[in-house]
Symmetry: C2
Subunit: 478 residues, 2 copies
C-alpha cells in the first residue's frame, strides 16, 4: 500500500516572494542553515547545481587558456592595505583571525574577501619578462564578507565562487580579456541557465574597489528586481604599481603589466531560483539540472509496471541523460509534487494503460504540458523535449525582462514607473554621482549598468537636465 506522506507546502510567491524563496531553498533541499549566521550548508542537490555550473565555466575558462591555482585563504592585514581603494572597500567587512592555537598572532589575518592582493603578491615574485605573460589564472574557492543581513545564495558571509585573475603586457589585451570573460558569463547565463542578461558598464559608484572599469551582466528576477549576476574588472596597472610587479618587455623596457579579475558566485543559483521558480517550487533548465528526467511508475503494484519503468529508465541512462527513477512506496501524488519541488525538467509517467498502448506521458516542468510519446521513440525524442523546456524557460524569462524595461524622462517618472511596475527603468544620465544619489534617495533605485546597447532617449539627464552622456538602467537590486 502506498505510504501517505504529506507534500510540504510553500508560501505563494505572489504573496511573499522573500518567504517563497526561502521555502524553495529549504524544501527543495538546496541549503541548510549552520550555527554561524550567514554561513550556509549546500546540501547534495544544491551543490550538484553548483558542480554543473562549475563544469561548464571551468571548461570555458580552460578553452581560453586559463589555469586553476590555489591561493591561501588568509591575507595579512599589511598586504590587504597595499591598494588604498581596495582596502577601503573590503576591510569593513573582513573576518579576522587573531589567534593561532593558544597564541595571539603578531599580525591579524583576514579570511579572504577576494584575492587580488594574494595574486599580486605572488606575481611580484614570479613575473619578470614578457615571456611570462599573460598570466591567465582562476581559483575555485569560498570567500568571506561579514555582512549584516544574510540570505541563502543571495548574501552570505561565506560563499563559493570562482575568481579569475589575469595579467597582461598591454592595456588592449587586458581590456579584451575583461570583455571576453564577461561574454563567458553571459554565455553561461543565457545558454545554460536560460537567464537573459543585459551587459554593460558599472558606474564609478558601483565599481569594484580598486578597478578602473567594472563590467556587469544584470538579470531580472520574477519579482522584477535586478540581480547582478557576474562581473569582470579592468584594473589598469594600479595594483601592479602598488605591489611592484614589473616585467621586461620585448623592447627591453621595464613596464607595469595590466590586470583583470572576474567572478561568478553561488549567488547565481539564487538568480536561477528567482528567475524560473513557481508556486510548485524550483524549476531548473535541463542543461544545468542535476536530474534532467525522472521516471515515475503509475500504479506500480500492477504486474509489469516497475519492470517496464526500469527498462525505460535504463535506456534513458544508457543514452547519457542525468536521470533517476522513483520506485519507492510513496504515493504518486507525493512523488510528482516532490520532483516538481526539485524542479526536474521532465517527468516520464508510465502506468498499466500506457504500457498497453506502448506509450508514456512526458510532463514538462516549465508549463505542465503533457505529451504522449511512443515508448520505442522516447529516447530519441528526449533531446528535443529537453531543448523545448530549455527554450521555453529562456523565452519566458526574456519576455519578463523585455516587458518590464521602461523608458523615463524625469526622476519623478522613473519613480512612478518603478512603484507601479517594478522592473528596469532606462533614462539618460549626465554621468554625475549626485544624480545617482538622487535616484537612490528619491526613487529607491541604484544604477544597474550603462548598457553596451545604447539608445538615444533624449538629449538631457533625466535627473538634473544637464546634457546627457549615456543611457543607463536603474532598478531595485538584490
Amino acid at each position: 500500500m502506498a505510504k501517505e506522506k504529506r507534500v510540504e507546502q510553500i508560501t505563494d510567491m505572489e504573496v511573499d516572494f522573500a518567504q517563497w524563496f526561502t521555502d524553495v531553498c529549504t524544501k527543495a533541499e538546496l541549503v541548510d542553515y549552520s550555527g554561524v549566521k550567514g554561513c550556509f550548508i549546500l546540501r547534495p542537490y544544491g551543490y550538484a547545481i553548483w558542480e554543473n555550473i562549475q563544469k561548464e565555466l571551468d571548461g570555458m575558462f580552460k578553452r581560453d587558456g586559463h589555469c586553476n591555482v590555489s591561493m591561501p585563504m588568509l591575507i595579512p592585514e599589511s598586504l590587504l592595505q597595499k591598494e588604498k581603494d581596495h582596502v577601503e572597500g573590503f576591510a569593513p567587512e573582513c573576518a579576522w583571525v587573531t589567534m593561532g592555537g593558544s597564541e595571539e598572532l603578531p599580525e591579524r589575518l583576514c579570511v579572504r574577501p577576494t584575492s587580488e592582493t594574494l595574486f599580486c603578491d605572488h606575481w611580484s615574485r614570479v613575473v619578470h619578462s614578457w615571456r611570462d605573460l599573460p598570466m591567465l589564472y582562476n581559483q575555485w574557492c569560498s570567500v568571506m564578507r561579514w555582512e549584516k543581513t544574510t540570505r541563502p545564495f543571495l548574501r552570505g558571509r561565506e560563499f563559493l565562487w570562482q575568481e579569475g585573475h589575469t595579467l597582461h603586457a598591454t592595456e588592449e589585451e587586458a581590456r579584451e580579456e575583461t570583455l571576453r570573460q564577461l561574454e563567458v558569463y553571459a554565455d553561461l547565463c543565457e545558454n545554460y541557465l536560460a537567464m537573459p542578461v543585459i551587459r554593460g558598464n558599472k558606474t564609478d559608484k558601483e565599481k569594484f574597489a580598486g578597478a578602473v572599469n567594472t563590467y556587469t551582466i544584470e538579470c531580472m528576477m520574477h519579482d522584477k528586481k535586478a540581480l547582478q549576476s557576474g562581473t569582470s574588472h579592468f584594473f589598469g596597472d594600479g595594483f601592479a604599481r602598488q605591489f611592484g610587479i614589473t616585467f621586461t618587455d620585448k623592447d627591453n623596457q621595464q613596464k607595469f603589466p595590466m590586470q583583470t579579475s572576474w567572478g561568478m558566485s553561488t549567488r547565481i543559483i539564487g538568480g536561477l531560483i528567482m528567475t524560473h521558480g513557481d508556486n510548485s517550487g524550483l524549476v531548473l533548465p535541463p542543461r544545468i539540472a542535476p536530474i534532467q528526467i525522472v521516471v515515475v511508475p503509475v500504479a506500480q503494484h500492477k504486474e509489469g509496471v516497475k519492470e517496464k519503468a526500469t527498462e525505460m529508465y535504463d535506456a534513458i541512462k544508457a543514452a547519457g541523460f542525468r536521470a533517476t527513477i522513483d520506485l519507492s512506496d510513496n504515493s504518486l501524488g507525493w512523488k510528482c509534487a516532490q520532483y516538481e519541488m526539485k524542479g526536474v525538467p521532465l517527468r516520464v509517467e508510465l502506468g498499466p494503460k500506457d504500457i498497453e498502448k506502448g506509450v508514456c506521458v512526458c510532463v514538462r516542468r516549465d508549463n505542465g504540458e503533457k505529451i504522449s510519446v511512443a515508448l520505442d521513440e522516447l529516447v530519441e525524442k528526449l533531446p528535443q523535449l529537453l531543448d523545448d523546456v530549455q527554450q521555453g524557460l529562456f523565452d519566458k524569462a526574456k519576455r519578463n525582462l523585455d516587458e518590464h524595461c521602461y523608458a523615463a524622462y524625469s526622476l519623478e517618472e522613473a519613480n512612478e514607473l518603478q512603484k507601479a511596475n517594478g522592473g528596469f527603468i532606462k533614462t539618460m544620465w549626465c554621468g554625475d554621482l549626485q544624480c545617482e544619489l538622487d535616484m537612490k534617495e528619491k526613487a529607491g533605485m541604484s544604477s544597474r549598468c550603462i548598457p553596451f546597447e545604447q539608445e538615444h532617449l533624449a538629449d538631457t539627464c533625466a535627473c538634473c537636465g544637464k546634457p546627457a552622456k549615456h543611457m543607463i538602467y536603474w532598478g531595485v537590486a538584490y
Copy 2:
C-alpha cells in the same frame, strides 16, 4: 639562434633529501611561499596534479553513491567542544576568528581543522528515519591546522583535501564503508600514483581524535621514511550520541546511527614527489601527469622540422593524450632539462635526420631509455609506452618497499636495523601503549600500522617479552 638560458640546479637527493624536496617543489613550479607561514600557493602545474587526483577520486566516490556538499569553513567553539576526544585532538592547533568587521564576536569561531562537528550538527537536523540513511557525503575544501613547523605539501597550516563523511543504520554497513574507502585510496595510490601501499589499522595512540578505529595506507618514500597517505575512520555512534542524531529504524525503534569519515590531502603530492623523483627533478606517473608527452623538435631552425613536429603533436593531441610542444627559442638542452624537472613521462624528440628516416626518439623519464619509433606508428604505440613508464615506476617503488622491510625480534634489533637501513621494521607487539612509547624513545620510530596481512614472527612482543597480539610496522614518518 637558440637563446641560452641556464638550467636551474637542484640539490643532490643523496646529499640533502629535504633540500632536494624543497628544490623540486619550487623549480618544477609546483608551489610558491605566501606571506603567511605554512600557507602555500599551488601554482598551475602543482594544482593540475591535484585536479587530476580529484577527478579520479571524485569519480570513484560518485561511482559508490557519494554526493558532494559544501559545509561552512567556520566552527563555533561550542560546537567543536561537543565531542571530548575530538576537541582535545584539534583545539590546540586551531586558527580562531575573533573579529567580524570592526566588532568582536560573542563566540570565537575556528577555521575548520576537519568537519565532523559540522556534518553531525547538520545531520542532527535532517536525519529522522532509516529512509534517510545512509548519508554518503564528501567535501572538497581546504582545512587549517596551526602547525609549528611547515613544509610544502607535507605539512601546511592550510591544505587542500577531501573529507568524506557518512552515516549508516548499522555498524556492519559503516565498517564496510570504512574499509571500502580505504580500498579506494589504495586503488588511487597503486594504480594511478604508482605508489605501493601497506594497509592496516592504526594503534589507539595514532588514531584520529574521536575514532573507534582508524585504518591507514602507508607508503615508503625514496629516503625510506614513511608517509601516511590516506586514512579512513570508524566512529561508532560516539558523535551521534553527543550531537543527538537519532533515527527511527524499520522496527520503529529510535537508534543512533553509525558514522565514518575518510580523507586524502595534497600531502599525497609530497608523497608522489618523494616516491618517484630523482636528481633531475620530478617524475610523474602518466596516469596523473598534467603533461604526459612533450614534443621537442631538434635543430628546429632546419627546414620542415617545426612543421613535422607540429604535425606529430597535433596527431598526439587528437588521439586524446595530454601533450604539449615546445617551439620556443630556448636551447634543446634547456628544454630537455626543463621537462625532466617537471617530470613529463615521455619526451618525443624529432630532428632532420629522424624525419629523413621516418622516425622519432621517445625518451622515458623514469629510466632515460631512448626508443626509436616509426612516425606512422607513434600514436598507436604511445599507450604502451606510457603504460611501461607507469609500470616501471610502480615496480621500482615496490622494490624499494619490499627491500626495506625488516623483521626484528627485540627493540635493540629494531633500533639497529632502522639506524643501518631505514625503512619499515616489523615486530610482534603486545598491544600496550608503553611499548609504543619505548619504541619511539629508544629507536625513534612511531607505529605505522598493524597490517591487515599479518605474519607470525614470534610469540612474544619485541619490546617487553609479553605474549604478542599482532605484528606491527614501525618507521620514521613524515
